[in-house]
């Protein structure tokens, strides 16, 4: 189940026989997957198929759900993320996350972006200024907010808030960005902007994105994984998945016959 040969060599995250339960309900069943570096991988499937659970397991955000139980393994650059010696906060610094609903803190634009670096000990004003500008530029929102850095972030539009959240995630210089339906709460124009941004980010980051929007997966992703009822049904290059899927269920889903 590998994408293209070029990418096969530099796998950044791999899972092996990953199972997740919520109490008695099994949300993921023996998922084994290898995700290549500096690419965009889309996770698709109907609601409740386990794609968000899979995403949230990769930076152990699923730990926050009390009734969740996980078996199997996830390797990030060869390190087992469930190893007892793994520092979860350190892992999340490397594997950042952008959520479905834009969730800027009720603080100024500047403080939002500076939050991560400050928490990790950066105090120098000059350094913070630099990180804030670089992150906002990286998230393609600098020009829109450069005069509003001191204003409350909640005053921005939904699309701006989401790009601010991406900037905030970039500010801690992650390696991987997990995106959980980042455009589902946004209008089409904001969605286009975010999609363009995601394509740019591929240069420097590995992106794994959950999406309900088939067109979006087709437009931006290199690899696509189709989940159904907790199973990874098919995973491969996006072109192939969308043109000649090997599984009937994948075909049914992407042609809109269910889900």
């Amino acid at each position: 189940m590998n994408v293209e040969d070029k990418q096969k060599s530099d796998t950044i995250i791999s899972t092996k026989d990953l199972n997740v339960w919520y109490d008695d309900f099994q949300a993921l069943i023996d998922v084994s997957m290898e995700i290549p570096e500096k690419s965009i991988t889309a996770l698709i499937g109907p609601s409740g198929c386990g794609k968000s659970t899979f995403l949230r397991t990769l930076n152990r955000m699923n730990d926050l759900i009390d009734c969740a139980k996980t078996t199997g393994s996830v390797f990030y650059r060869g390190q087992d993320i469930f190893d007892p010696s793994m520092e979860v906060s350190e892992l999340r610094r490397h594997i950042g996350m952008v959520f479905q609903k834009p969730n800027p803190f009720p603080m100024s634009v500047y403080d939002n972006v500076a939050y991560g670096p400050r928490t990790h000990g950066t105090k120098s004003r000059a350094k913070l200024d630099d990180i804030v500008e670089r992150s906002l530029r990286g998230a393609a929102i600098w020009d829109e907010v450069r005069d509003k850095l001191r204003q409350n972030a909640l005053g921005l539009s939904g699309g701006q808030q989401q790009r601010l959240c991406i900037a905030r995630a970039l500010a801690v210089q992650p390696d991987v960005l997990l995106m959980d339906e980042p455009t589902s709460a946004l209008d089409p124009i904001s969605t286009t902007k975010i999609e363009e941004l995601i394509l740019q980010l591929k240069e420097n980051y590995t992106i794994i994105i959950v999406t309900h929007n088939m067109q979006q997966a087709l437009r931006i992703s290199d690899g696509t994984a189709f989940f159904l009822l907790g199973d990874l049904i098919e995973y491969g290059s996006t072109d192939i998945i969308f043109s000649t899927p090997s599984d009937k269920r994948t075909e049914d889903y992407i042609t809109g016959r269910f889900g």
Binding site: G96, F99, P104, F105, P106, G116
Partner: protein, 303 residues
Amino acid sequence: MIGEREITVTAQESARRKRIERIIHGIFLMLGLITVGCVLLITIYLVISGIPAMRTIGLKEFLFGQKWASTAAEPKYGILPFILTSIYGTAGAIVLGVPIGFFAAVYIAKIAKGRIRWLLQSAVGMLAGVPSVVYGLVGMMVLVPGIRKLFKVPDGASLLASIIVLAVMILPSIIKVSVTALEAVPQEYEEASLAMGATPIETYFRVSVPAAKSGIAAAVVLGVGRAIGEAMAVMMVAGNAPNMPSLFESVRFLTTAVASEMSYSSGLQRQALFSIALVLYFFIMLINAALNFFLKRGNVKQS
């Protein structure tokens, strides 16, 4: 078929229904006005009965006089000792109670799980239900002798004893209101912080607490109000001598000044007690205004 679904309420019936609506509306309005009436009545009564003594004694003499000797041959009516005692006592209770209440609230709202959380919440609930005379009683039996022995002072009934009792009494209000504010912080904020590699504790103090700050401020103001208005418990542990406040001295609060002399007062002395009540009322109004300010600010931010 259409005919069967026609609306067939007679004009008479319709007028009757409107009348009933109006009457019920009127009853509710009246019940609501009773509250307003009570506040107005108290305010007017306090102002009317509190002003004469201030006039007779002289406002400056009354508010800033350092000696209260209402039953002396040459009576003195200076209430500065009471004002300062109330302020110091409340401030002391806040200094002592707010850190405890704040951290307890963070613990209950964010960290504690299952049984421990349940235990803490019930304890806070019960603390809120303890009558103030019981606080006073326990303070009198335990705290006062304790202070006397520990600090080797002639009498443990003092400002310090009052501060400790008040600090415990304001804990439930501070904790409950702060917990409510902290629990109302959207989980998305905390998730965003955790996803950036902040630890849970960093997240609580850098995201949750700032997001809940107007609610927490309201909790503190509520505590101030509770402390400054408390009479019974402090009366039992303060010693009630009208001294200028000092930590180990017997002191008298604004509330206890009114309560302790009212039963046998007469003439100017009685009028002066009303004036004290008016001063206390003024403080409470200030605190209420502050409370409204914080609550309003909290609402504006969330909308």
